[in-house]
């Protein structure tokens, strides 16, 4: 794969992070295309979540580069990375329990993000329509006035995905979006993901193989901070190295 191509949405090259000498991510490179759903799988401790942390700025890289649409992310602050169009969903549903579903989405609406801006922010028709629009996509249109803390686990996961969608990110990163969901909810989430990838790229970390097969365009298998294998689900599944360290168990 050529390293000079610039039509990737995300180009991660030679990324390394070391925690007191332990390299959680070690010389990692991968590329995500426009409109692609990329799933990262791998055994526990492979460094999957750390990769997302590095991309969204939560963890500082020791070396290497992360280019998003040609711009270097490694030196930006978290909120600047968000402003450039990268959205991140956390592993545990991370929503504001004390606010209503509506307010959760409203806070995520990309306007009035400075202190002064948030004082001047007006809940106008545009905001309301957008919130309702997103609420419908994430199956919560009837729960807008409910405190988010009262939602079911699956609904909380959807709400957090909705909070990302309303930011209209070009790159969406989801950390185990279906963990703890019922079978029916998983199906709905797979549908949801397939629907929302129009015009954006998605990176998903997931353990549920059925779910991965449902959504993945390409799969990256990580092991000990490195890429072990990459390609279509079919190819990865039959890769002897992958079977040995991950799928075989």
């Amino acid at each position: 794969m050529s390293t000079n191509r610039s039509d990737f949405v995300l180009a991660v090259e030679g990324l390394t992070v070391s925690f007191d000498g332990f390299k959680a991510v070690n010389d990692l490179s991968f590329y995500v295309d426009e409109g692609e759903i990329r799933v990262i799988i791998g055994p526990n401790g492979a460094g999957k979540t750390t990769v997302l942390d590095l991309i969204c700025g939560r963890t500082q890289a020791t070396s290497g580069s992360i280019k998003f649409r040609g711009e270097e992310l490694t030196r930006m602050k978290e909120h600047q990375i968000v402003h450039h169009g990268v959205g991140r969903k956390f592993q545990n549903p991370s929503i504001y329990d004390d606010l209503s579903v509506f307010e959760n989405l409203e806070i995520s609406y990309p306007r009035g993000r400075s202190v002064f801006g948030s004082l001047m922010f007006k809940r106008d028709r545009e905001v309301i329509e957008e919130v309702e629009n997103i609420a419908e996509i994430i199956f919560l249109q009837n729960d807008l006035d409910k405190p988010a803390g009262l939602l079911s686990h699956g609904q909380k996961q959807w709400l957090e995905i909705g909070m990302l969608l309303i930011q209209k990110p070009d790159l969406l990163m989801l950390d185990e979006p279906v963990a703890g969901m019922s079978v029916a909810e998983r199906k709905k989430t797979a549908e949801l993901l397939n629907r929302i990838t129009q015009g954006r790229s998605v990176i998903v970390i997931e353990h549920d193989m059925q779910f991965v097969e449902d959504i993945a365009h390409r799969v990256t298998v990580m092991h000990q901070g490195k890429v072990l294998s990459e390609g279509s689900m079919e190819r990865v599944k039959n890769d002897p190295k992958v079977i040995e360290v991950y799928l075989g168990h």
């Binding site: 004390d98 509506f102 948030s118 309301i128 309702e132 006035d145």
Partner: protein, 423 residues
Amino acid sequence: MQQRSNIRFMSRQEVLGYIMLAVILLAIIPLSLDVFRLNLIGKYLTYAFVALGLVLCWGYGGILSLGQGVFFGLGGYCMAMFLKLEASDPESTKIQSTPGIPDFMDWNQITELPWWWEPFRQLPFALSAIVLLPTLFAFIIGVAMFKRRVGGVYFAIITQAIAAIMTILIIGQQGYTGGVNGITDLRTLLGWDIRSDSAKVILYYVCSAALFICLLLSQFIRYKKLGRILVAMRDREDRVRFSGYDVANFKIFVFCLSAMFSAIGGAMFTLQVGFMSPSFVGIVPSIEMVIYCAVGGRLSLLGAVYGTLLVNWAKTIFSETFPELWLFAMGALFIAVVMAFPNGLASLFKRYIEPKLPAWYSGKTMVSKAPIIEKDSSMETAHANALGSEENIGSSKSLAKPETAVTVAPRTDEKLEGGVYVD
């Protein structure tokens, strides 16, 4: 759907709560107490500014500052410096070896007014300094701490250390600050005798009015998106950060605002009590102020005022009879509040008193909210929706205020319970 845009500035309960407080502060108290007691209440009210700042900063923003006395003191000292210079004209200080400088400077063999005292001869400068100096100081602390992501317990400890340092500094620089005695013997404000009975009554009203302005400003912030971001930040800081907000800026803002409120309180204190000393700056007063806020309910703007009045009133009664026991009582009170009712008096009011109040108090929406939302009558829907959205903020942050609370108890788990009560 467009009704949802009508988040209301205040709910019916809140409007009634503010009216109630206004009646108590502006009519009942002044009419029923003599000037001495009224002045005492006025002094308590100056602490309410600090408690109010803590509601925003700690209750909403989740930033516990144990050094609010620093800002209270800075505001108070700025006022005291102006008043002291006015009281130290050459005529009335002619027995000093250097007439025309404050008496404590003379006692400390200082023969010239320090350059940084000079501008405090001007009232406009002093007034701007009261507001700006502590805010600037808070800004510097805020930038240094929050930009480096210092928070939680570490922040609390650092603010406490700052309070200790400030006290040591003031006491140590006796010649410039009046040392442990503070700045005393303040007499007039632009020639107006602040020690007279009539002045005390007027200052009481000025203090109450200033408190109301701060209350309404806080209410405004609560009602804007900024208020909801504070709550969100308290609960899920990372989520707010990864929603594109620079979290540190919001923390700095709310910390500065609480410092500004404290400073205004401090200045009002100096005016009403007639002196300022390091005993209002240090660790103990700073923690006491946190207790006022906690007792009133750290999520309730009005609760902060009632909490302050109540604790101080108890303090006065108690320390008159058992002076040495007061500190223990205070400690016990704090533990009791934290263990038994973490959201303070406001949550007790909410749970036990409000359901017994007549229906007009809360308006129709109180009886049962859910069916009304479904109704088509646009007025009611608007109200219900507005309530719906406000409530949720309130559910943790502020619902529970005396006289103001909506129908719900302060936590979501209690919330259902609250609903059951009402229905």
